[in-house]
Symmetry: C2
Subunit: 288 residues, 2 copies
């Protein structure tokens, strides 16, 4: 089947005819679905055999790679879509024999470390770190779906030695599935994501823990409370890796959050209606 995820004509033939995707969870699985729909040959691998079988049975994955990932060397691009803590090991396995790969990339929520590792492994020129801001608290192939990246911000973080061919391939890949590509430095990425993604996740988990300790169950919540605790259902494996890699930037965001919270607590202690109104109104004023 050929055609963009939204059914529109695709224009020129894809510059990446074969893409190897390692990790067929929400992000990797959704990317594989959209690429296959665009006529790209997808080589797939996942440690979870059920995921691999399902992706194969649904016609999304054309060939299943073996755990050594030697087949990836025959592809045009490799996408590492495993939790950040596991990505380095996958990259090392493929970097030992990158073959004809023009692009090695990932989808992790932190970018400084993986970009450094790519340089150190000698594949910096072919590497572009990527981070699509999509998906939710659900995990696994079952949560993957077509069109997940349509309109989503996708950050591309080149290494110091990324070449133009890898750069172009990364941009094509994400724009082909509908992402709003923005290139930025890995350090700037990690700083920004601490605020836009890691802070919200930390707050949702903190709220869930606070409610648990107070003996409050999810059924006691209204729609607002349910919404605020949904992210807490995200994978602890994934978030432990992100928190460790971006601990410095997350801490800065949490400190700023704590200061804003103290303004509220002080106003409550003084029963200061004017400050409270101003505090709520400024928060509302930020909202779109």
């Amino acid at each position: 089947m050929t055609g963009a995820p939204d059914g529109s004509p695709t224009g020129p033939a894809p510059p990446l005819s074969t893409v190897a995707v390692v990790g067929l969870g929400t992000i990797g699985g959704s990317l594989a679905r959209d690429l296959a729909a665009l006529g790209v040959r997808v080589l797939g691998y996942d440690a979870n055999l059920d995921a691999v079988r399902a992706a194969r049975a649904e016609g999304v994955v054309h060939r299943v790679m073996d755990p050594g990932l030697a087949d990836a060397a025959d592809a045009d691009a490799l996408v590492i879509a495993v939790p950040v803590a596991a990505a380095a090991e996958v990259l090392a396995r493929v970097a030992a024999r990158p073959g004809r790969l023009r692009l090695l990339t990932d989808v992790g929520s932190t970018k400084r470390r993986i970009v450094e590792i790519a340089e150190r492994l000698g594949v910096g020129s072919r590497f572009v770190g990527a981070h699509p801001l999509a998906g939710d608290h659900r995990a696994g192939w079952a949560a993957s779906r077509t069109g997940l990246f349509r309109g989503a911000p996708v950050y591309l973080c080149p290494s110091a030695s990324t070449g133009p061919e890898a750069s172009d391939a990364a941009r094509w890949l994400w724009e082909a599935v509908g992402g709003r590509v923005e290139q930025l430095d890995a350090a700037e990425h990690d700083r920004r994501l601490a605020w836009t993604s890691h802070l919200p996740q930390a707050l949702s988990t903190t709220l869930a823990r606070t409610l648990a300790a107070a003996g409050i169950g999810a059924h006691d919540l209204g729609p607002g409370g349910r919404e605020m605790t949904r992210l807490a259902g995200s994978s602890p494996d994934m978030w432990t890796g992100i928190a460790l890699e971006n601990a410095d930037q997350m801490t800065a965001a949490l400190t700023a959050f704590g200061a804003e919270l103290d303004v509220l607590r002080d106003a409550l202690a003084r029963r200061d209606g004017e400050t409270l109104h101003h505090w709520f109104a400024e928060g509302q004023g930020w909202c779109p």
Copy 2:
């Protein structure tokens, strides 16, 4: 038009044939819609004339009350659906001449103060404080809709002298529109809601303020971040009133939240992966 909001047969004739609703916003407007659909005559009032006109034009409100609310004395029940800070004044206006009203009730997010005021105004025997846990950050008649209370928790808080007729009427009213009614003491209500509703709201506003100060815009967020900041769009008037009335209980919840957040900050400072994993996993474990 007769029939329950979901279209099923209504069973026995409604014990409340006329209900006066003051405030035709998300909650009051939605309640008026469902009551009208059940065959109840709705008398309506809102300080916003556009809301009143729209409710009248859509056939939801049968008669518009004048600002003095004298007409309410002819109804079986009065529902005060204005922000908590304004509810006491409305109650005082009607309590001066309650006529044949069998039930006076409200929909505010805090319950201790309004229940005390009803006693003080001499209408305690006819009063039952109510709080449907429904609605979202949107406000006004335009945000009202049928079926809003279907499956929603609705807390009923009697006063010290509430009589059985008022009690039965309050229960009928909210069960008729699909609410899951739970009776509890006003003080216990305010304690519980500090955790389930006021804490989530405070965190969403704090997050929005933190992002604003960091120069982050809403368009920089992914789905998780957008979800976590949605409540921040709620009415500052409404939330200032709630925060002032429930300052003591909100402060207790915020203090507990701060302690959970400190566990995270300590673990990040030590780059303690084991504690971080445990911390995220316990939060996930609370999720349904």
